[in-house]
């Protein structure tokens, strides 16, 4: 489903090239749940960005379901993301000017889906925010914002869901609730889930853990 081949990422820092990822090879099967773990600065978020097609690799390639992301330009990758990929972020990344409902509708509208409104309402009800459709992000608590983000991620029915520290900004009880929700929905829709986390409990819930150390995969 997802295949990374000799994935490398270097960035210029003060005139030198800094290697962040040093040739990663991995494969994730369809429907699998995978946690990427590692210390701060080990390259977890960079790997996630590359796998999700948010960034370009310095060398190597990412192939998802037969599509070589490295061969696409940014617009091609955007089209690919719209069709196949959903995101949940540590800092929620809701658009502050849009209501909860409008935030969930956004990816559906980008795909040109006609019943965006009904779909969005359905998913917000699914995350128990049916009463708060017209609230703006700043009127919602952190947990509620993340539930909106989860509703948004699943509303476009992606094949793969990428999550970056989804509980990182939440207290442990709210975090647990979010984890439950994430895995429930994941099971309902049979989505492939790739998440980056420091949270051991969250990592345990996944079928597989990929350990990164200084840009190299040590357990995969």
């Amino acid at each position: 489903m997802i295949r990374a081949e000799n994935l490398q990422k270097t960035v210029p820092v003060g005139g030198r090239e800094l290697e962040i990822l040093k040739g990663i090879n991995l494969e994730i099967k369809s429907g699998e749940t995978v946690a990427v773990v590692g210390a701060s600065g080990s390259g977890k978020s960079t790997l996630l960005g590359l796998l999700a097609g948010l960034d370009e690799a310095s060398a190597g390639r990412v192939v998802i379901g037969g599509t070589d992301l490295s061969a696409l330009d940014e617009d091609g990758r955007a089209a690919f993301r719209a069709e196949n990929v959903g995101f949940v972020f540590q800092s929620f990344q809701l658009l502050p000017a849009l209501t909860a409902l409008e935030n969930v509708m956004l990816p559906l509208e980008l795909k040109g889906q006609q019943d965006a409104l009904n779909q969005a309402e359905h998913f917000l009800q699914r995350v128990e925010l049916g009463q708060r459709l017209d609230h703006y992000p700043r009127q919602l608590s952190g947990g509620e914002q993340q539930r909106v983000a989860i509703a948004r991620a699943f509303a476009s029915r992606p094949d793969i869901l990428f999550a970056d520290e989804p509980t990182g900004n939440l207290d442990s009880r709210t975090g647990e609730h979010i984890i439950e929700l994430l895995f429930e929905l994941n099971k309902e829709h049979g989505t492939t889930l790739v998440l980056v986390t420091h949270d051991l409990k969250l990592a345990q819930r996944c079928q597989r853990r990929l350990q990164l150390e200084a840009g190299e995969l040590v357990v995969g």
């Binding site: 940014e74 955007a78 995101f87 658009l95 502050p96 000017a97 476009s156």
Partner: protein, 824 residues
């Protein structure tokens, strides 16, 4: 997602406020000023047409064909005819005086008004038209000279007329002092009966035309190519040089003000759009992570801009209309005529300004939003790629230049301002970067407030330098406007002081000089010196005879002409030598000093010889110098000045000018009775008219200045707001760390005041430079440095920017730090 929905959401989220406000204000200011100046120009033009008594005049020495009048009538213009000529006027058996007769047809004057009184020097009344056939109006002093009263008969040539009134002023009487002799006004249809006008008589025919501007313009364009020798078409500028110059300067000032509005608007929009796009970078990153392509983003923001432009243009045009309506309401009682509507042009200018500004200032940063990396959703600290490029600045500069040029229609005005702006930009960036960096070293040894402030200044070095330049540009433009306004108004006032001479006295016999001087002194009438005056005629240049005026070919003005000569051992007061040298006192060389334009018309220079005829005596003189005169001063001015000994053998009369207050008018009656042969010309009404125009124009300039100041303030606010976010963020962190209110506000105040100081300094330098260029190139004025500008420019920059900055950031100390951090 449609653009409309995104805009609605942004509006609810408060993201669009500044951009819309900047755009609406830009359109409103540009439209308002443009409509105001268009209407004001038409009002002032109408006002100035009073000096021609028409909108256009055909002057000729032979009667112009009546078919021209018919054509004008067919086109819907009003027409009238006048004929002026010198003639003897008789009363009873003995009394006769050489008078300057004007015969006018029914509708004269087409513009302005004719005034009369029912007895000499009596109460002034206005008349819609001149005397009826068979009657005449006489100049007040003719009553004394001819010893007649209202109701008596006088004769001109073979015709007899009843005197019905005293003529006081004619709208076109200022057309020159050549009209000697007291005025007699009669009806045009009575001319054949007099039998005095014969072929070859020295007469001046005028055909007067008036109507709406477009028809008049079309008619004169049709007429111009058909003009024959001896025919000339007069418009405002030619009719009254003083008024024409005051008007054209005022017009340029208003256009200058309008151009500044365009620049300020552009800068405000650029600042607002930049902030808008910065705030939208994350927005775009999220949309892209959700799969939006660059194309979709561009279409979204592009159509948003178009929508925004349309809405802002509509609101701005309405506001602009309201603005000029308010202007005119304030202004109504000062205007002699209420001008018609301004037409669609101001609104077209508003529309074009809005879309040019959006395209050249707002679109470049928004277009680059499409290139924002979606990776920002994972790494919010990623540097924004949305930096302005050199191309953006060039595009903005070209847009400003183009708009200004289009708007003012004046390349030199545009050039002077752009050079000033360019100086601000280049000097400013260099200076600001250097000084802001140096500031850090000083700050290290100062207290913590200073260290904080200077560290902030230095860290955002480039952004701050840019901000200094923007502040400086806004302040510079405002200073330029204030400076030009001040010098314009000062110059006008200097030309027409309250005691400016408003009467002329001609034809004073040498033996009357002393008694008249005594009488003026005794009656407390301030007067200029008495100048000798000899009437003569220029006949030849360098031995070559000149053609008579009627026979001069084409547009050339090189023909025989009469002129008033005077003599003097010194340069006359108010005259300025522009070429050659003044003669030593007591010389008996045959020299002459010519007025500049007179010399140009004769096409002569220093060293050329001029052949003259004085009475029947020929005289040849050499041009020794050329002088510049101030024709707007209402002082006695002479085209030709000679050394005293050259003219000593010719009979001379004397002239002077003096000032009479309205309450002193009865002095004239006494004077005329005692010196009946002296010609007195009343210019007080004309002087008042000119002063009235100058007052109106000054008031307009003050009003426009006020509006531009508001536009400048908007730029300053937009400029301060552009940097508020990052400053707020830092200050919140400081507060969270326990910094006191005083420390944070003090730091912010120092930071902004320092920016203001640089901006003020820079603005002052650039303003002086621009004003110098403007006065030299555009306004035809002498440049005077303004040392008082320096402290004002610098202090106002510091106080204004400092206060605005602290005010915009006040939220950081009045709300909890967490709330501020979450908002950003």
């Amino acid at each position: 997602m449609t653009a409309r929905r995104m805009l609605a959401r942004d509006w609810r989220g408060g993201e669009l406020g500044i951009l819309v406000a900047a755009l609406v204000l830009a359109v409103a200011v540009v439209t308002g000023i443009s409509a105001f100046t268009t209407r004001l120009q038409s009002a002032l033009e109408q006002e100035s047409h009073r000096f021609l008594a028409a909108d256009a005049v055909l002057r000729s020495s032979r009667e112009a064909p009546a078919t021209l009048l018919e054509e004008a009538g067919r086109r819907g213009l009003q027409t009238a005819t006048t004929l002026s000529f010198p003639s003897m006027i008789y009363a009873g058996d003995e009394a006769m005086v050489l008078a300057s007769v004007k015969a006018a047809s029914d509708r004269y004057p087409l513009r302005g008004e004719l005034t009369y009184s029912s007895e000499p020097f009596g109460e002034v009344l206005s008349a819609a038209q001149g005397p009826q056939p068979g009657t005449v109006w006489l100049d007040s002093r003719l009553f004394a000279l001819l010893d007649v009263a209202v109701g008596d008969s006088v004769s001109i040539g073979e015709a007899e007329f009843t005197v019905v009134a005293a003529t006081r002023t004619e709208p076109d009487q200022a057309a020159g002092l050549a009209s000697f002799g007291p005025r007699v006004l009669m009806h045009y249809s009575d001319i054949p009966a007099t039998g005095v006008v014969q072929p070859g008589s020295r007469v001046e025919y005028r055909q007067l035309y008036a109507g709406d501007a477009a028809t008049v313009a079309a008619f004169t364009a049709w007429l111009q190519p058909q003009l024959e020798n001896g025919q000339r078409l007069l418009d405002v500028d030619q009719g009254q040089p003083g008024v024409g110059r005051a008007l054209s300067r005022a017009e340029r000032f208003l256009l200058l003000a309008g151009s500044l509005a365009v620049v300020l608007a552009g800068v405000a929009i650029a600042l607002a759009a930049r902030r808008f796009s910065e705030r939208h970078t994350d927005y775009v990153a999220i949309m892209k992570s959700l799969g939006a392509q660059a194309r979709v983003i561009n279409r979204l923001y592009g159509s948003s801009l178009v929508l925004l432009g349309l809405v802002a243009t509509a609101i701005g045009c309405a506001a602009g209309w309201a603005l000029q309506a308010v202007f005119f309401a304030l202004f109504a009682d000062q205007l002699p005529v209420m001008p018609g509507p301004a037409g669609p042009r101001p609104y077209a200018i508003g529309f074009a300004t809005a879309f040019t500004c959006l395209l050249c200032f707002a679109w470049p940063p928004l277009r680059r939003l499409g290139q924002a990396s979606p990776l920002r959703v994972l790494r919010r600290d990623m540097p924004s790629e949305n930096r302005r490029t050199l191309g953006d600045y060039l595009l903005g500069f070209v847009a400003v230049a183009g708009l200004m040029w289009w708007y003012s229609g004046d390349l030199r005005l545009t050039g002077a301002l752009l050079l000033g702006l360019g100086v601000t930009g280049v000097l400013g960036l260099g200076l600001a970067l250097t000084l802001l960096r140096g500031g850090r070293l000083v700050g290290m040894s100062a207290g913590s407030i200073w260290r904080l402030a200077l560290a902030g200044l230095q860290r955002r070095g480039t952004a701050n330098a840019l901000q200094v330049v923007i502040f400086a540009m806004a302040i510079m433009l405002l200073l330029v406007l204030v400076l030009v306004r001040t010098s314009l108004i000062r110059e006008w006032q200097a030309q027409l002081p309250a005691d400016a001479p408003n009467h002329f006295m001609l034809n004073i016999a040498p033996e009357d000089v002393q008694p008249i001087e005594q009488m003026l002194r005794r009656s407390d009438v301030p007067s200029e010196a008495l100048y000798p005056m000899i009437r003569g005629r220029v006949m030849a240049v360098n031995g070559q005879a000149l053609p008579a005026r009627e026979d001069a070919t084409g547009e050339s003005e090189r023909h025989q002409r009469g002129a008033n000569f005077t003599w003097s051992d010194t340069v006359p007061a108010g005259n300025q030598l522009v070429a050659g040298q003044w003669w030593p006192a007591g010389t008996d060389e045959a020299l002459v000093s010519l007025e500049e334009e007179f010399a140009q018309r004769l096409e002569v220079a220093v060293g050329d010889r001029i052949g003259l005829l004085i009475g029947s005596e020929p005289l040849e003189v050499t041009v020794a110098s050329i002088r510049k005169l101030d024709w707007q001063s209402f002082r006695p001015n002479f085209f030709m000045v000679f050394p005293p000994r050259v003219l000593s053998d010719f009979p001379a009369t004397f002239m002077t000018s003096f000032h009479l207050d309205p309450g002193q008018k009865s002095f004239l009656n006494q004077f005329i009775r005692r010196f009946p042969t002296v010609t007195v010309i009343e210019m007080d009404v004309v002087v008042e008219q000119v002063r009235g125009i100058v007052d109106q124009v000054s008031a307009a300039i003050e009003l426009v200045l006020g509006v531009i100041l508001a536009a400048g303030a908007l730029v300053l606010v937009a400029g301060v707001r552009a940097s508020v976010d990052s400053r707020l963020h830092e200050s919140s962190v400081l507060r969270a760390l326990g910094a006191r209110r005083g420390l944070i506000l003090g730091g912010l105040a120092i930071e902004f005041a320092t920016l203001g100081l640089f901006a003020g300094l820079l603005a002052t330098v650039a303003a002086e430079f621009s004003v110098y260029l403007l006065q030299a190139w555009v306004l035809d004025m002498r440049y005077v440095p303004s040392p008082w500008l320096w402290p004002i420019g610098i202090t106002s920059g510091m106080l204004l920017i400092g206060a605005l900055g602290v005010y915009s950031c006040r939220g950081v100390v009045s709300s909890p730090p967490l709330a501020v951090l979450r908002e950003l």
